[in-house]
């Protein structure tokens, strides 16, 4: 035991995030006495996140190492640290106006975002089951509260209740699975499990039972059909920035965890779980994309569309390999950029109109052409239009799946991508075809909203046209798991 590495410096970025969360909470508690501007809270959050981001870069040149065999600190971790911290910054910048207007407990809001980012990072970095579980709960608990934070909206409480109760059931399922896997393999570290599986635990009924519960529990976090039902309700009820955060960080973190868990620990048992994930993947992309067509609320539409996207990502876990690992990381990066672009644009739209109905996007091309352009581009990217991020990343993803012998799965994915275009075009049509409502005139965005959406907008094209740098980063990160 003494050879464990307890170098706390490896966790520096997370210490910075925790520190920022504490400062934000304290400042919020004494805000009335200190007479500080409420814009200070997001400023500190962004600042802390940026410092943490810079701190993460320090590990780029270091050899891969780990903290007490619990948390890996390597390119894979760095990749997700940067990704999640960048997401946090984008969401805080994109939503501070929204928060000022709609959220009463602002300190908690920012502190929860910071805390959940730590959870997300450790989900990616964990190399041991208990650490992985605690990270999942850190992220989930923050989001349970986050979803219920919109005090002026009764939907928020209902969504929070559904999320926390079903989340509890899912946690119990996950834990039950983990306990059986621990019982059959005798270890909780990924490496230990992998070693035990080599010795022939694979295929025993107890182990299979554990796998089924594990897949169910993780399926809930990832919103895979049929464990997805909380998703649309939580998305609709949550305050918009939290919705954006769930759809971005929470999803990506779950897949980061699954990739490491299935890639390292359970790789030897591939034959036992591959069909589970493949069937979840098919069900998820079909159900998500089909129900999305029927939606009239933009948050709900995006919820179902994100379920559809989850199906594509599950495909990469199904075919887990070095190639599909880097493909998945690239796809996650592209998906985060695109998805954030949509959500931040929708938040800006909500700030102006107070509406989430797709119907109310009518004539946006007249009243706010820039925003309409951003939303259109991002939706096209989500549907996988060439020249945009969505095409390159999906193509690499589908190709990797096809290469691993899952051509039929890739074919379903291509078809479902086309179906998705149908409902994205519904939104685009409202913006470009329908007349603006009476009395709507041109309106302006705040400079920060311009900046955030602008950067993300360019990012969509950057990934679409010049994916090489991000792909190399993804490839380097994925090599940590499979190299």
């Amino acid at each position: 035991m003494s050879d464990l590495n307890f170098e706390y410096g490896l966790l520096l970025p997370e210490f910075i995030l925790v520190g920022s969360a504490a400062v934000v909470l304290m400042l919020d508690a004494f805000r009335a006495d200190l007479r500080i501007s409420r814009n200070l809270l997001p400023a500190i959050t962004v600042l802390g996140a940026l410092i943490a981001g810079v701190a993460s870069l320090l590990y780029l040149d270091r050899d891969p190492t780990d903290f007490a065999q619990l948390i890996a600190v390597d390119h894979y971790t760095t990749f997700f640290r940067i990704l999640f911290i960048a997401t946090l910054v984008a969401i805080v910048l994109g939503s501070y106006e929204f928060v000022n207007r709609n959220i009463t407990h602002q300190g908690e809001f920012y502190a929860l975002l910071l805390a959940s980012t730590i959870g997300a990072i450790y989900m990616a970095a964990a190399r041991e089951l208990l650490t992985a579980y605690i990270s999942i709960e850190l992220l989930s608990f923050s989001l349970y509260v986050g979803v219920s934070l919109a005090k002026n909206d009764t939907r928020s409480g209902e969504a929070g209740l559904k999320y926390v109760l079903l989340g509890g059931v899912a946690s119990a399922m996950l834990l039950y699975g983990l306990s059986i896997i621990y019982g059959t393999t005798g270890s909780t570290t990924y490496e230990g499990i992998a070693a035990a599986l080599e010795d022939g635990v694979v295929g025993t009924p107890a182990f299979l039972l554990g796998l089924a519960f594990l897949v169910g529990g993780l399926g809930f976090k990832a919103s895979a059909v049929p464990f997805h039902m909380w998703t649309p309700d939580a998305y609709e009820g949550a305050p918009l920035p939290i919705t954006a955060y769930i759809s971005a960080t929470s999803k990506a973190a779950t897949f980061a965890l699954m990739l490491a868990l299935f890639g390292i620990a359970l790789d030897a048992a591939k034959a036992d779980w591959q069909w589970m994930l493949a069937s979840l993947a098919v069900a998820t992309m079909v159900v998500g994309n089909l129900i999305a067509i029927q939606q009239t609320n933009i948050k709900r539409l995006l919820a179902y569309s994100s379920i559809g996207q989850v199906g594509f990502m599950l495909m990469a876990i199904t075919t887990v390999s070095d190639a599909s690992g880097s493909a998945l990381l690239l796809h996650l990066a592209g998906y985060l950029i695109t998805n954030l672009a949509v959500f931040i644009a929708v938040i800006a739209f909500y700030n102006r109109t107070g509406s989430e109905e797709i119907e109310d996007f009518r004539g946006l091309a007249e009243t706010q052409p820039y925003l309409a352009l951003v939303i259109t581009t991002a939706l096209f990217s989500l549907s996988g239009m060439p020249l945009l991020a969505g095409f390159v990343t999906k193509f690499v993803l589908f190709q990797a799946a096809a290469e691993e012998g899952f051509l039929w799965l890739a074919t379903v994915a291509v078809i479902m991508s086309t179906v998705s275009l149908y409902y994205y075009l519904k939104v685009i049509r409202q913006m470009y075809v329908a007349e603006p409502a009476d009395g709507d005139s041109r309106w302006r965005l705040s400079p920060i909203a311009y900046l955030t959406t602008g950067v993300l907008f360019l990012g969509i094209f950057l990934v679409g046209l010049w994916a090489t740098p991000i792909f190399e980063a993804a490839d380097g990160a994925s090599a940590m798991l499979f190299g």
Binding site: V169, L208, M276, Q294, D322, P386, E403, L425, R429, T468
Partner: protein, 641 residues
Amino acid sequence: MGMEHVWLLPAIPAVLFALMGLFNGLVPRRGDFIVILGMAVVVVLSFLVLLDFQGSFRDGHFAPGDSNLYSFSWVEIDTGVVDDLLLIEFSTFVDGITVLMLAVVSIVTLMVMIYSVGYMRGEVRYGWYFAVLSGFGAAMLMLVVSGNLLLLYLSWEAVGLASYLLIGFYWERQTAAEAAKKAFITTRIGDVGLLIGIILLWRGAGSFDIQEIIHFAEGGGYGETYLTVTMLMLFAGAAGKSAQFPFHVWLPDAMEGPTPVSALIHAATMVVAGVYLVARMMPVFDVALVARDVVLYIGLTTAALGATLGLVTSDIKRVLAYSTVSQLGFMFVALGVGSVTAAMFHLFTHAFFKSLLFLGSGSVIHATEEQVVETLGGLRRKMPATTTLFVIGSLALAGIVPLAGFWSKDEILLVLQDGAGFGPFVILAATAALTAIYTTRLVLLTFFGEPKDQAAYDHAHESPAVMILPMALLALLAVIAGFVALDPVGRALGFTGGIGEVVFTQGHEGHAFKLDATIAIGATVSALAGIVLGFIYWSGTAERAVRARQWSPEFHDLLVNRYYIDHLYQFTIDRVVLGLATVVAYFDRWVVNETGVDGSAQGISFAGYRLKFFQTGRIPNYALAMAIGVIVLALVAVGRT
């Protein structure tokens, strides 16, 4: 400027698209002249490429059948840590059909741009229109120079996106937006096939490079069934883009866009992308003969279907749209019997006369703000120049000697007779005659006879020179373009073997242009008969009789005496031809369009409607779904062992 710089051709308009899309407000005239200038440079460059191609051709640097591939790494994604799995390289490729396409695309785009200066004057988003036009040109040029299926697919989608923007240009009009959406989705359904086909080809050959895939296929690398399925997938993409049955439904609806856009997209460029794709992959189709036969019969069906529908449509642009559908069918027929030469030749001539016809119809619409033939008529007095040019285009379409359409249509009939036998030949020959009939009808109802709507007639005026001039240039090409097939012309251009020697793809021999006297005469006679038939039916008999009497009493007598023949004609056309056409139109609207295309969309939508009710909003139900999910997983997992 040689073939290795061919990437410049798409690059120039692409840069202009980005610049003018963003900053058209900052330059005078919203930058239309900049965009036009850029495209003019591209036209010049495309001729330089032609010269270079022809120079190395003559110097014997490569024998006919050789390729000319230049690759440069634009985006390189190489996951090859373990095995280099996903190497994506972008390359350009120049051969005969590329050169031909470059000339067609750049010239027609330039003409349409110049014409648009007049047609689009005063429109809102004038600058945006020109920028997107430039972007469209860039995508289309990129499509034809790409030597790599992935780059081809990228440009293919970019073309679709640009055309979506152009068809939906009048987005305030509900129908325009719907049409844009329909065109986009219908072609995208085909594109799914294309993408799957590309992935299947790649899986076998391990490369996206077209030449490598061709070598691989010719070496028998793909299994027979595998390749057939793959090529059918690819053809689905081509059929979607080129509006072949059953995907043809989007093209007539797409006429909602501005008319110059139709002239560009729906006559000369985007819709022929499918023809180009199949021609480019012809060596692979030669290995998958079943797939090639499907191409033939789909082409034949579409040719006949389009021509029949053209007979009973009254919107001038939709008639032209159906005509395009039909003519594209001709090209696929040629491809179906393996003749790239005939198909590309027809593509070449068709581009000029059909865009001329579209621009002519645009001139009419611009002048009268009417586009239903029943409300037009007699326009020849007000618009002599447009009338003359439109008639030239129509004669070329009908296939009258010596206009361009004659040569290429004749060539298709010839290769069809050689390749597929008598039955298909007869159908296509009859379709050619039908072409003459509906063309005549269109010309007569629009420009001749008496005005049917006085207001529209009074409103009419000749279009400005900026519109007439590009039409005149296209008319010139519509007259002379067919001559390139003749041996003396071919030699003068530097190709001893005429069109067949220029237009080939690697590993697929072209053949010299042949003129079969029987077919030539037969085709001409049937075209003329079609025109006469159209004349008798659609020009008012009474008026004709009166005029004929003034001109020659004897002839009038003849006419009167032969009235029973008129009746026979009348019966034939009324009951048989038009009756058939009406039935076909009904089938097209209700079965193909409503049930097939709209129905599948509604089916998907309905599935979503049913599924959504599982989402009841109640926690116990959600937990039940989770429980069932995990229990099924566990049971199946244990049961499998």
